[in-house]
Structure formats: structure tokens, C-alpha cells
Symmetry: C2
Subunit: 176 residues, 2 copies
Amino acid sequence: MGVALGHMVGSLTVGKKKYAEVEADVIALMSEADSLQKELLKLVDRDAEVFEPLAKAYGLPKETEEEKNHKQKVMEAALKNACSVPLDIMRACCKAIELHEGFAAKGSAIAISDAGCGVACCKAALLAASLNVFIKTRAMTDRAYAEKINQETDALLEKYTSLADRVFDAVAKRLR
Amino acid sequence: MGVALGHMVGSLTVGKKKYAEVEADVIALMSEADSLQKELLKLVDRDAEVFEPLAKAYGLPKETEEEKNHKQKVMEAALKNACSVPLDIMRACCKAIELHEGFAAKGSAIAISDAGCGVACCKAALLAASLNVFIKTRAMTDRAYAEKINQETDALLEKYTSLADRVFDAVAKRLR
């Protein structure tokens, strides 16, 4: 929804005389927003797909030592696999926030509030995806791997939640 | 969507032995979330309704002095009316954030991430609605009225965006 709002800002800008100077830039932003939206929709389906083997792994028996070891191995592989998708979703949300920086700066004044709403949605999606990463990493036995992923997640959160806030504040300032 | 996620946390909590102690509280939260969701859906329709006279007012002629005065009066009334809806949406989002404080504190551990996603969505909706208020107030001629609304908007933003952040951080902390 966030990316769709960004795209709409573009649609309301392109073709207007007043914005002729930035038209090429806005068309490029719209094309990126379009790919990103498709990618995000695929990732949402993929997120459901990688959850299935994980749900199955949770159900494995753990009566004997052998079963316990087997379950742990299957779980670990499923967790690592399932973790990669919300991390990709986060990366896509970060790109979406960057695109909104462009839409907010170059988009038509009549659509600028949509850039603000869009970036707020993208930030919420980024935060939600990070929880989906943390749920997976905390269950991992391989702590070095888990910590590496957590660090990457924290770095993305730090950089892009503050960029999202700056873009939103710039829009709010322009509107008041 | 935010409130629906909160409600889901409730559904995944009620009926579980482990959460018997908070069950009555969680049922009360769910009932409030349910009313709030209905109210928000009505407000979204209402927001579109009150925009119509505003769009018409923008289109009034302003050739003669008389037309200008008439347009200004009609615009002002339409703006005040149109402004009350996003402000009501903000108030409902604030209540939704408060409900998530409850869901995050009392909800089942398996659904806690949904409380985090829900509160992030409610915060995004609160921010988006505030832009919808500012668009209206900046066009008003009655600056005293406009400033009063802006102050109320700022007060809601200040109190409830930080509450939303605290609820989200508490969820993230519990999950890591």
C-alpha cells in the first residue's frame, strides 16, 4: 500500500506543465515503485511458503535423543530459510522509503500528502518485518549466524526508520 | 488493519489455560477493538463524503467580488466540516494504540508480534490522518480556529506516537 501511494504521487505529477523539469526523474521513480510493489507481493507469498516447513518442523517428535537431534537440525534449516524472506521484505521496504524521499521532493504539491502517508506505511511494514526476523533468530541454535542477522536488521532499522521520519516530517512541514 | 491485528492477538489468547487470569481483560479489549474497527470503517466512508462539497467549493467561480466572497464562505464551511473527520480518525487511532498497549501486555506470547505489527499500522494511520487535518487547516481563513485544531492535532501526535513507539519497543524487546 505504501509503494502504491508513492506511485500515485508520480501519476499525479507526470504530464503537469509545472513539473515538466522533474518529469523524467518522477517517471524513473514510478518504474522503480512498480517493480518494488511486484517484488513485495511475491515476497509476501514467499513468506507464507517458507513458514510451512517451519510449522512442520515444530511438530516433529522429540521423545528420543535421536529425534531431538533430528528435530533440531530440521528446525535450524527451516528457521534460516524462513528468516531470509522477512529480511528481503525489509530490504524492499528500505528501497521504498528511499523512493518516497524522491516522491516527496519531486512530486506534485497536490499529491504530497500521499507521499507522507506512503512513507508512514512503508516504515510500519519495515518495523513489522523486523519482528518477523527477530522471532526467527531468537529460536536459532547457531548464535553467531543469528547475531549477524540481528545486526543487519538493526542497521537497516536505524538507517531507514530515521530516513522515513525525515521524509514524513518534510512532507508535514510543506503542508502546514 | 492495525485494529484487526490487535483483535487477532486477543483471539489467540482467549481460551488458553496459560492466559486464564487475563482472559476477562482480553475479551474487553477485543470488544473495544471490534467497535473501533467498525467506527474507523465508517469514518473512512465519511471522509470521502465530506470531501465532495469541498471539491465542489474549489470549483466555484471567483470572477466578481461577490463570487469571491461567496466562494470563500462556502469553502470555509466545507473545510471545517471536512477537517472534523480526519480528527475523529486520529482520535480513533489513539484509542487503537491504547488497546494495543493492553494486547502487547496481556496477549499470548505466540501472537505478540501481531500486537507489534498492529501498533505500527495504527501509528502510520494516525500520522496519515494528521496530514489530512493539516491540509484542511492551512486553507482556512479563520486562523484562530485553524490554530486550535492544529494544537489539538499536535497534542494527539505527541502523546500517541510516543506511546505507539513504547508499545512497539516493548514487543520487540520481548521477542528478541
